[in-house]
Symmetry: C2
Amino acid sequence: MAEKFISDRNLKFLLYEMFDAESLLKYPRYADHSREIFDMVLETAMKMGKDLFKPIFSEMDKQAPEYVKGEVKVHPQVRTIMRECGAGGWIGATFNCEHGGQQLPEMVGMMVPTAIFAAANYSAAVFHGLTGGAAGLIASYCSQEMKDLYLPKMMAGEWQGTMALTEPQAGSSLTDITLTGEPTDQGYYKFKGQKIFISAGEHDGADNVIHLAIGRIKGAPAGIKGISLFVIPKKRIENGKLVFNDVNCAGIYHKLGYRGAPITQLAFGENDDCRGWLVGEPNKGLSYMFQMMNGARIDVGLGAACISSAAYYASLEYAKERPQGRRLSSKDPLSAQVPIIEHADIKRMLLFQKAIVEGSLSLLMQCSLYHDMEKVTEGEEHENYNLLLELLTPVAKTYPSEMGILSCSQGLQILGGYGYCDEFPLEQFYRDVRIHPIHEGTTGIQGMDLLGRKMMMKKGKAGQLYLANVRKAIKAAEDDAEMKPFAAALETALGKLEKVTAHLFGVAAKEGPEMFLADATLYLEFFGIIAIAWQWLLQATVAKKALKGNVGPGDVNFYNGKVCTCRYFFGYELPKIEGLATRLLNGDGLTVTMKNDYFEE
Amino acid sequence: MAEKFISDRNLKFLLYEMFDAESLLKYPRYADHSREIFDMVLETAMKMGKDLFKPIFSEMDKQAPEYVKGEVKVHPQVRTIMRECGAGGWIGATFNCEHGGQQLPEMVGMMVPTAIFAAANYSAAVFHGLTGGAAGLIASYCSQEMKDLYLPKMMAGEWQGTMALTEPQAGSSLTDITLTGEPTDQGYYKFKGQKIFISAGEHDGADNVIHLAIGRIKGAPAGIKGISLFVIPKKRIENGKLVFNDVNCAGIYHKLGYRGAPITQLAFGENDDCRGWLVGEPNKGLSYMFQMMNGARIDVGLGAACISSAAYYASLEYAKERPQGRRLSSKDPLSAQVPIIEHADIKRMLLFQKAIVEGSLSLLMQCSLYHDMEKVTEGEEHENYNLLLELLTPVAKTYPSEMGILSCSQGLQILGGYGYCDEFPLEQFYRDVRIHPIHEGTTGIQGMDLLGRKMMMKKGKAGQLYLANVRKAIKAAEDDAEMKPFAAALETALGKLEKVTAHLFGVAAKEGPEMFLADATLYLEFFGIIAIAWQWLLQATVAKKALKGNVGPGDVNFYNGKVCTCRYFFGYELPKIEGLATRLLNGDGLTVTMKNDYFEE
């Protein structure tokens, strides 16, 4: 199997050459850090990825978690990984020092290790990742007492954290959540209800599981306005001891991929003894949860990009080593066969993979920069970074996820019949990556979020800020003669984006929300392609500039790879917006008006 | 699990309303048949699909074939299915009566049962299918003695037939085939060599396996010009007894999907006792093999379309039954949830599935009609049908295969998290269908076949005939006011096809084959979308005409479904050619000229 799963050279390129992580050091929040520390984070994470995560990539898939009488047995290495991540400070590395964190920038403390671990072994990387997300919510919104109770154990990787949203009757429809807590005079609520599809909701790699669950206080208003957020532990502390808190695991799912991580069904309060504690204020649960959810959506996009990264390197290795056929210009059957990377169609597929992987990673790092800047700025500047992050979150979740499927599929295709067999890792990447357009909000939900909410909020301010940022990249690229046509193509694409958006806003005003959002998924796809084109223009501009300096042969290849992949993206991917724009400008309401009966027969 | 896996109503629509299978009855070859017989074939196949194939769909996946000491154990039902298919006359139903066939038209005898069985259980449907293909080659090119020896057993479903092409060092590169037969004075050749990825190459559901293998006679010219076709049985007959023929199964592959069928590695002549017999003339093997290969390519497209069909009905059932959320126009959280089919995005995904499934089936049936017409015509007419079939074969293989992946993926997406779990069949469809762009010639190979060979042959005559046929459909559609814009859109698309093709021919002349074929895969995609648009225009035109008559309520839904899906295809799918045309008209040779080193790091 290919050793390589992610390029640390590329991560450094993104951190330092694209997004200037060092510039964050001037803010008091990050003043105690340095480039050396950032480099060390990257190196240590690479070492952990290689030594801890990668070796059990296939094993965790083949020895999937087992459910036995309410308990879930996971690969024994999960416990080690959780503890090592705890000991190394990887859980909550971006938290404030006061919460036991290291106050690292998101770009460094979150993106770098999450990317590396996910590329090495996605299933293994979600345990501590979820724990960090849950701990972050506790750090942000809970009382000091609860922080003291939960954070040390969670950040040490001893206790698992979860995000518990989905219920059987309410998949994407959070309005219909029914997990209910009855107030008591003891400060806690007594819970009854069920959750399904809860990642790492129960397993023997942790000593306790802390559920961050949305539900209702009994008698709360119907719908989203009555949703609160609670901490519901699997085991609660009574008289200094851990006591079972009546959270029962009713089973796990047998999944297509992502098999190393147990996805659980949970029953709360079957024996009327499940206690939970309110987070923050009543009926504001969804807004709190969205802190974790937004982070989780970025993580999902990142996970997909990183599975695709590992798939890319596996295909690349095969393509360089597998001899088959000859160049079309030399068909002498007695000549030696060439490695398949010499065939244009194979090279095209590799470029597709590289374009998806590195384009996605770049957009994700861009989001992370906005996140960091949001933390260190105030007033309108702060609001602007927040708006940009909010706007791009559904894109950064979806583009890598949807395109990751195609990218891993092309990777599999490069190996031909071998790609379809489990002696090579491609079939597992293909299975693993398929979850990403589903979990943490399906692609359909993301499309409605982007068009129906994010593009509309603050009178479209987020969209305006975004356009201004893309145009800055266009302006910077125009100075380079080779980049100029790409800059122009992106400007044309932005024009299309503006035209399509204005058209759809008109539909919203004239024909209402159903017609407005009927093709929101296509709008998201359309928006996503343009966003990745922006990132490729940025990357190629930086690379071209670097090539003018004094660079070694390895870097010459690296930068030229960036320029070629930018050419690929503008040549093969960006034109896909043409057909999408045609559709989006000519919606006929077919999917709103067509009778269900027409599907019969 | 959804009961329904294919629509017999739609198959009848294709047979009788679209392609007028009854018109074949006027030819002597088919004169003994009747509409009643055709109907009976369809009904019997539906019954067999439901009773024999479908019940073990999931079981065959979970209890995949096992390799034990050179033997392969398959699901016990495989033997039953093989025998039943033999007894029912399904193997070689289209063969001449003199060869034990029923001389049914391909549309009826091949397409209908193959579609139904593949939709019910793809893995189970390949055993007798491959046997029919191999028997067809023997019927066409072998001596009477060999026919008498093999055909009765194969057509009875007692002996398995295979198509043995791939070798370890020569995947898609048939030039490099090395299986070698040394002539003897006994009329047979003694073989040494290996084959890999041979479907049903060894299993205990049949009493013998007859390999139709390509190889070389010792001393034959290098390359494709030295390839001959042979019959190499697993067991040969000596003194009236079956004797082991030194064909050893070295192992089977563990695959992502399509798990019920064993894909084998074979070693010929390890003990210097493997005998094979030449088919037809020496060094002409590839042309014979292409009879089976072309049929197999149509079968692969059909298999993909039919897996997608079963996935579509499973998603449809779920979408109609699963309540979740509310229409955007009524967000009252106290109102009842609606079935998810009411959401525009879900309806769009279902329409996508329906468009792929029924568009693909229609194109495949169109090919089948050409095949039938080729058989009953002579001279230029015969040649024209042959050219059309040759031209469309890579398209009919690839469009359903590539789009089948996306179609099953959308089907899975409709079920959300449940789609990812094995309690629903979508994840299996998603795995099963992934093989189709690989086996019987990858998509890359099909692209080069279409652009580099089929569009070029006879000075482009096939392409001209095709354009004329599509324009006939456009003309017929123009009479209907609702169809007129679609007819115009298809004419515009044909204009693009002509322009792109002429441009690429120019590239071929000026810049040579590498540049010409660099984006052949994209050309195939581009060509395929237009071909399916043609089929949708035909289908909707027929449906609109039918709606003007006196039709029952079920048929009103059926025909309106056709019209809506045509609208879907022209609204959402056909515009995809715009971006493809942009790329194809602006090739820059990136994938031909880019250095391999640029992929480093």
